[in-house]
C-alpha cells in the first residue's frame, strides 16, 4: 500500500494507529487525522462522482468549504449520517464511511455516461428536461435522480443519540481561534470581561499554527511557536471559556448566536455510548468579535475538477499539519503569493514542485525565497487543460496575452500527479452578513469586506480583508482596544516580520483557445455547474445573481457555494460589463455548515416533544381503557371501549346510557377564569354579547364572545358566585387566548375598570354527571343538599361539602339532559371521580368521552366553537340572534354586526342536515351543492359536524350553507368520490326541542 505520510508532526500521534473502513475496505490512519488526511496518506484522492455529470472527483480542501469529499457515515438504520465532510471528520477507531455520490460504486458507474452526453445537460437542465410529461416525475425522474445523484441516505429509525441545549451569556464572544481571535480573546479576558472563544477545529491556532516559513516571524520565533505560547497563556485566564470543536451555526439579531459543539463524533463507537453527542449553545453576547478567517479560491480553467487538483493552501496544511503529501510531482497554479509558501514547504520536504503564476512578474520576500531555492516559476502563464481520468497525470500551460484575454505561443505540456490552485482569498463574511451587516467591495484584490462595524460587533483578521501577519496583528490590537474601550499594551512591543504581497492579477474565467462550449470549467464542484452554464443563463436573459444562482444551481449545494459564489459573480460582472461591487452578493443563510436535526431538537423528543396536560382523573381513565384525544395540550378521554368495541359501538353505547340513565364526563379541561372586582359585571357586559348586570348571585348564564370583527370567538357558562365575583368557563382550546384577550382589553382599553382576572383552570377538577338519574346520584353524594328544581333549578349554582371538602356544583347542561358539574380542588379530583362512579353504579353511570359529548350536543344543536365555526361566523349566521343584546350600547364586536358584509342575507349560515337514507353518515368537511349539472359546480357550503344518533336512530349533521336560514325543507346534494348523497335541510335542534329533559 502506498504511503504518502512523509514526516512526523506534533498533531499526528503515530503511536496510536486507527483502523477505519472506506467504501468497505479497511485502511489505517493515526489519531489526529481527519478522514480526508488519512485517505490522502493512503494515496486516495478519488472520493466521489459529480452530481450531474458523474465525473470522478477528489478531495479539494481541508475544511468546511469542501465540495467533493462528502460521505455517508455508518450504515445502521438509526445511526447513519449523510453529507459529512471528510475534511472535517476526525478519524476514530471503527469509523465506517462511504463515498456518497457514486452509485453503484466510485470506480465505475452508470452515471459516468452523463459525462459524454453533457452537451445535453445545459444550465436549467432540471427545469427544462424533467418538466414533462408530468406523470413521469414521481415514478421515473425522481427515483432516477435520487439514485444516481449524491443526496445521501437518511436514517430510517429514531436517532438513539442524546443531544443537548445550553443557554449562556457572555460579555464578549470571539468566533474563530486563529491568530486574531486568540489576541482578541486574550485582550478581552485580561480586561475582566467574561469571554467565550469558539473554534470549529480540534485545536486552536487556525492556519498560523502549522506555519513554518523562516521569513514570517514574531518576536524572533516562528509565528507558529509564538502562537503556541499565546495559546498556553490564554488557557490560564479564568474568565475565558474556550470551546473547540464548536462552530457557530447562526448569528441572529441582538447578538443571539447558535453554536454546535461536537462532543463525541471523534470518539470510537464504544466510547460514544450514553454520552451527549452534540450540544446546541444558545449564546447571548454583549459584544461579538468575528475572526473567522478566509478561504482560498480555486481557479476556473478547463478540466479544473480532476482528482488530485486541490487548493494550494490545503496541500500545505496536509503536509505541515498532517505530515501527508498530496503528490510527488506537484504543480502550483496561482495568482498570488500564498502558493509560494506551499511551494517552499514542499521543497523543504523534498517534494518536487514548480509554480505557474498568472502574474507578469512579482517580487516579494517569499518569491525571492522560492527563486533562491531554484524552484521553477512560469510567470504570465495559465493552465489551459488537464489530463488523467481518475487522477490528474499532466497538464498544458500557455502564455497569457498582454491584456490577459487570450493565450499566445505554444502549449507546454507538464507532467504531474497533483495540482494546487490558488485564486486568492475570500474573507469569510458569513457571520457579518447573517447578523445584518452590509458589505463593501475592494477592487484591488476583488474581495467583499464587512462595510461597517457597530458597537456590538466587529470583524478582525483576514475575514476583514487583512491578509499579512503584521497587518492582522496590528489592526486587531488597535480595533479591539477601541471596540472594548480598553487600553491593552500586551502587543505594544511585538516585533513582526513577514512577506508583503506587492503584485496582483485576477482573471475570473481563464482564457483558452478551445471555445467555451467545449470546455469544462467548473465553478461549483458539488452542483456541477460550469462557466458555460453561467454564460448561458446570462444569454437567456437572467441578470440578478439570485436568479442566475437558482437557474444554474450554482452555490445551492450543501456547501452553499463557499468556493463558487465569487467566481459566479465575477463571470457575471465580466460578461455583463458591470463592476463586480455593484452586483451585490447572494444571501448567506444559516446554518454555516449543515446541522443535524438532533442538535436542533435537543431533548425535546419522545415524551418531551410537547407539554402534555393531564387532569387529576387521568389515571382512572387509563385504568379503564380510555382512548385519548389531544385537545390542545390536554389528553382527554375520547371514548371508553368495552370488550373490544370499536369507536362507533362505544360511542353508541355511551350516548344511549347518558340519555337513558346517567353518564359522567371529565370536564376538568374547560378553561376557568376567576373574575373579581367591583366592575366585574360591567366587564362581562362589555365582553359578552348578552346582558349580565341582572344575573342574580348563585345563577349561571351562557355567553357568546365575539372578536371586534363580529365573529364568534369563544363561548361558555359564567356563574355569579357573589356580588363582585364570577367564574367564567371557556372552551378547552381557547382558554389561554381568551384570558390574553380579556387582559388586553382590561389593561389597554379599560384600565379604569376594577377587575382582576386569574386563570384557575388547573386549580379545579370537574366531573359532569348527566342523564335522568343524575339527580339520584347527586343525592347519594350530597345527601344534605336540597336538589329540588325549586331550590336548585337549571342554570344555578350551590356550594356543598363532600365529606369535608368544599365543592362548587353548577346545574348546567351541554347535553340537553338534567346535568350537574361538580368542581373540586384538583388534588381531590381523582377521589371525587371515584366517589361519583361508586355512587352511580346502581344507575349504570357510564363514563363517556369527547366523541359522545360531541354527539349528544349535536343532537341538541349546540355549537362547538372551532368545529361549527371557523372565524367567519357571526351569531346571526349561527341562528343565535337570541343571545345578542339589542339594548346594550356596546360590547366587543357589536358595531361589526351591522357592517354591510355581516348583514348580507346570503352569508353561510348554520343548518341541520338529514340524509334521505337515515343510515348514511356524512363526512365532516364534505362540500354541499344544489345542482351538479351546471359546471363549474357552485359550492354552497360544507358539513361541520356529523354523527349517527342512537337516540334518534338516524344520521344527523350540522352544516354551514349559503342562505341556509331560508332553506329549511330544501333538498341538497353532497357529491362524494363515488356517489352523490341526497340530504334535506332541517332545523339545527334534532332532539327535545322543548327542553323537557332538562327537568325530567
Amino acid at each position: 500500500m502506498p504511503n504518502y505520510r512523509i514526516h512526523k508532526t506534533e498533531y499526528i500521534d503515530e503511536t496510536k494507529r486507527v483502523s477505519f473502513k472506506y467504501d468497505g475496505k479497511t485502511y489505517f490512519g493515526y489519531e489526529g487525522d481527519t478522514l480526508a488526511s488519512a485517505l490522502l496518506a493512503n494515496g486516495i484522492h478519488l472520493v466521489g462522482r459529480s452530481f450531474k455529470y458523474h465525473r470522478p472527483r477528489g478531495i479539494v480542501s481541508c475544511g468546511a468549504e469542501e465540495p467533493n469529499a462528502i460521505c455517508q457515515i455508518g450504515s445502521k438504520k438509526d445511526l447513519t449520517e449523510p453529507n459529512v465532510r471528510a475534511t472535517e471528520l476526525e478519524l476514530y477507531e471503527g469509523l465506517e464511511a462511504s463515498s456518497q455520490n457514486c452509485w453503484p460504486n466510485v470506480k465505475f458507474d452508470i452515471g459516468g455516461i452523463n459525462n459524454f452526453i453533457s452537451p445535453l445537460i445545459p444550465a436549467g437542465f432540471y427545469y427544462k428536461t424533467f418538466m414533462w410529461p408530468k406523470s413521469f416525475w414521481k415514478k421515473v425522474y425522481e427515483p432516477l435522480i435520487r439514485l444516481s445523484a449524491g443526496l445521501g441516505k437518511s436514517p430510517t429509525e429514531p436517532d438513539p443519540d442524546i443531544y443537548d441545549h445550553k443557554h449562556v451569556h457572555y460579555d464578549v464572544l470571539v468566533i474563530g481561534g486563529g491568530v486574531s481571535g486568540i489576541i482578541a480573546a486574550k485582550m478581552a479576558a485580561k480586561n475582566n470581561l467574561k469571554t467565550l472563544l469558539v473554534d470549529d477545529k480540534k485545536i486552536l491556532g487556525g492556519s498560523t499554527i502549522y506555519q513554518n516559513n523562516e521569513s514570517i516571524k514574531i518576536d524572533d520565533k516562528l509565528s507558529s511557536e509564538w502562537l503556541k505560547n499565546e495559546i498556553q497563556e490564554i488557557k490560564k485566564l479564568s474568565n475565558l471559556t474556550i470551546k473547540t470543536r464548536t462552530s457557530i451555526a447562526a448569528y441572529h439579531g441582538y447578538n443571539f448566536l447558535l453554536a454546535k459543539e461536537n462532543l463525541t463524533d471523534h470518539l470510537p463507537e464504544e466510547k460514544k455510548k450514553n454520552k451527549i453527542r452534540q450540544r446546541l449553545w444558545k449564546i447571548r453576547a454583549k459584544k461579538v468579535v468575528i475572526a473567522t478567517g478566509s478561504i482560498e479560491r480555486p481557479l476556473v480553467f478547463n478540466n479544473n475538477d480532476r482528482p488530485g487538483i486541490l487548493l494550494s493552501n490545503s496541500i500545505n496544511k496536509y503536509l505541515d499539519y498532517y505530515g501527508v503529501t498530496c503528490g510527488e510531482n506537484i504543480i502550483l497554479f496561482t495568482n498570488n503569493d500564498s502558493a509560494y509558501e506551499t511551494s517552499i514547504s514542499l521543497h523543504k520536504k523534498g517534494i518536487k514542485n514548480i509554480i505557474v503564476d498568472l502574474r507578469k512578474s512579482a517580487s516579494s520576500k517569499l518569491i525571492k525565497q522560492a527563486e533562491s531555492l531554484g524552484i521553477k516559476i512560469y510567470f504570465n502563464h495559465v493552465v489551459t487543460n488537464t489530463f488523467g481520468y481518475r487522477k490528474i497525470n499532466s497538464l498544458e500551460i500557455m502564455k497569457l496575452s498582454e491584456d490577459g484575454n487570450t493565450t499566445i505561443g505554444d502549449k507546454i505540456k507538464l507532467s504531474c500527479d497533483c495540482l494546487g490552485m490558488s485564486g486568492g482569498w475570500t474573507p469569510m463574511v458569513h457571520m457579518h452578513t447573517q447578523s445584518g451587516g452590509k458589505l463593501d467591495f475592494r477592487d484591488e484584490d476583488q474581495v467583499f469586506l464587512p462595510k461597517e462595524n457597530s458597537e456590538d460587533k466587529i470583524s478582525v483578521g483576514s475575514c476583514n480583508g487583512d491578509f499579512d501577519l503584521e497587518n492582522i496583528i496590528d489592526k486587531t490590537v488597535n480595533k479591539i482596544n477601541k471596540f472594548l474601550d480598553i487600553d491593552n499594551q500586551d502587543y505594544q512591543d511585538t516585533n513582526i516580520i513577514c512577506s508583503k504581497e506587492n503584485d496582483k492579477r485576477n482573471i475570473w474565467l481563464l482564457p483558452n483557445k478551445i471555445p467555451l462550449g467545449k470546455t469544462k470549467c467548473f465553478i461549483d464542484f458539488q452542483n456541477d455547474s460550469t462557466a458555460k452554464d453561467i454564460k448561458l443563463a446570462l444569454k437567456e436573459g437572467f441578470r440578478s445573481i439570485e436568479h442566475v444562482k437558482r437557474y444554474t444551481t450554482t452555490g445551492m449545494a450543501t456547501d452553499q457555494g463557499k468556493l463558487s459564489n465569487m467566481h459566479a459573480l465575477g463571470i457575471i460582472a465580466d460578461t455583463a460589463g458591470v463592476k463586480m461591487g455593484t452586483l451585490g452578493t447572494t444571501t448567506f443563510r444559516p446554518p454555516f455548515t449543515p446541522l443535524t436535526f438532533g442538535t436542533l431538537v435537543g431533548r425535546n423528543v419522545g415524551k418531551f416533544f410537547e407539554v402534555v396536560r393531564k387532569t387529576s382523573m387521568h389515571e382512572w381513565h387509563v385504568e379503564n381503557n380510555a382512548e385519548f384525544e389531544n385537545v390542545g395540550q390536554w389528553k382527554r378521554p375520547w371514548y371508553y371501549p368495552k370488550n373490544g368495541e370499536n369507536m362507533h359501538d362505544a360511542v353508541q353505547r355511551e350516548s344511549k346510557a347518558a340519555r337513558d340513565s346517567a353518564g359522567i364526563l371529565d370536564a376538568s379541561t374547560l378553561g376557568k377564569i376567576d373574575i373579581q372586582g367591583t366592575d366585574a359585571s360591567e366587564f362581562l357586559n362589555r365582553v359578552y354579547t348578552n346582558a349580565w348586570s341582572k344575573l342574580a348571585i348563585g345563577k349561571c348564564r351562557y355567553g357568546l364572545m365575539l372578536n371586534e370583527d363580529g365573529m364568534v370567538y369563544d363561548d361558555g357558562v359564567t356563574t355569579r358566585i357573589s356580588e363582585n365575583h364570577y367564574l367564567m368557563t371557556t372552551t378547552t382550546g381557547g382558554a389561554a387566548n381568551v384570558l390574553s384577550k380579556l387582559e388586553d382589553y382590561l389593561q389597554t382599553e379599560w384600565p379604569e375598570l376594577d377587575v382582576y382576572l386569574t386563570s384557575v383552570t388547573d386549580h379545579y377538577s370537574t366531573a359532569s354527571i348527566c342523564g335522568p338519574n343524575s339527580k339520584k346520584i347527586l343525592n347519594k353524594l350530597f345527601p344534605n343538599l336540597d336538589l329540588s328544581d325549586e331550590n336548585f333549578p337549571h342554570m344555578s349554582f350551590k356550594e356543598e361539602k363532600l365529606e369535608n371538602i368544599n365543592c362548587r356544583i353548577m346545574r348546567i347542561s351541554f347535553t340537553g339532559e338534567q346535568s350537574y358539574e361538580i368542581n373540586i380542588e384538583s388534588k381531590y379530583g381523582h377521589s371525587l371521580w371515584k366517589m361519583c362512579i361508586e355512587a352511580g353504579k346502581e344507575f349504570n353511570l357510564t363514563p363517556y368521552g369527547t366523541e359522545t359529548m360531541h354527539l349528544l350536543r349535536a343532537e341538541k344543536g349546540f355549537i362547538i366553537v372551532g368545529q361549527d365555526t371557523d372565524g367567519t361566523m357571526t351569531p346571526s349566521d349561527l341562528q343565535m340572534d337570541w343571545i345578542v343584546s339589542k339594548k346594550k350600547y356596546d360590547f366587543i364586536g357589536k358595531r361589526s354586526l351591522y357592517r354591510s358584509d355581516t348583514i348580507r342575507e346570503d352569508r353561510k349560515q348554520l343548518v341541520g342536515l338529514l340524509t334521505d337514507d337515515p343510515k348514511e353518515i356524512l363526512e365532516e368537511g364534505a362540500q354541499i351543492v344544489s345542482d351538479i349539472k351546471t359546471k363549474p359546480i357552485d359550492m354552497l357550503g360544507h358539513v361541520t359536524s356529523s354523527y349517527f344518533s342512537p337516540n334518534l336512530n338516524k344520521s344527523i349533521a350540522l352544516a354551514v350553507v349559503r342562505s341556509g336560514k331560508t332553506m329549511k325543507g330544501q333538498k341538497l346534494i353532497i357529491p362524494m368520490e363515488n356517489k352523490n348523497i341526497n340530504v334535506t335541510v332541517s332545523d339545527t335542534i334534532f332532539l327535545d326541542k322543548e327542553n323537557k329533559r332538562l327537568n325530567a
Binding site: 447571548r284 390574553s740 387582559e743 350600547y889 356596546d890
Partner: protein, 93 residues
C-alpha cells in the same frame, strides 16, 4: 431574536413575549356613531412602516403586562419601551 426590556421585569428573551401590532390605536368610545368606513379604519387599517414604528407587546410568558415599544423596523433596534397609558417619547416621531 430580540432582547426586550419589559418595563416591569427587565430584559428578557423575545420568546417570552407576543407582539400585539400597532400601538396608540384607541378603540372608539361610541362605535355605534361610526360609519362603516370609519369603523373599518379602526378595525382593519394598520401601518407597516420601514423605520420607526410604535408597537404593543405583551410579556405573555412573564408578568402578562402589555406595554409599548418604539422599534426601528429597518434594523430591528428597540429604541424605547414605555408603559400603557404613557405618552410616546417625543424624540421619536
Amino acid at each position: 431574536m430580540f432582547l426586550i426590556n419589559c418595563p416591569f421585569c427587565g430584559e428578557r428573551d423575545q420568546s417570552e413575549f407576543s407582539s400585539g401590532g400597532e400601538a396608540h390605536i384607541v378603540r372608539p368610545k361610541q362605535p355605534t356613531e361610526l360609519s362603516d368606513d370609519e369603523w373599518a379604519e379602526y378595525l382593519f387599517m394598520r401601518k407597516n412602516i420601514k423605520g420607526i414604528q410604535f408597537e404593543r407587546w405583551n410579556h405573555v410568558h412573564g408578568c402578562r403586562k402589555w406595554f409599548n415599544v418604539v422599534r426601528d423596523t429597518s434594523n430591528d433596534k428597540i429604541l424605547s419601551v414605555y408603559k400603557m397609558g404613557e405618552k410616546p417619547p417625543v424624540n421619536y416621531k
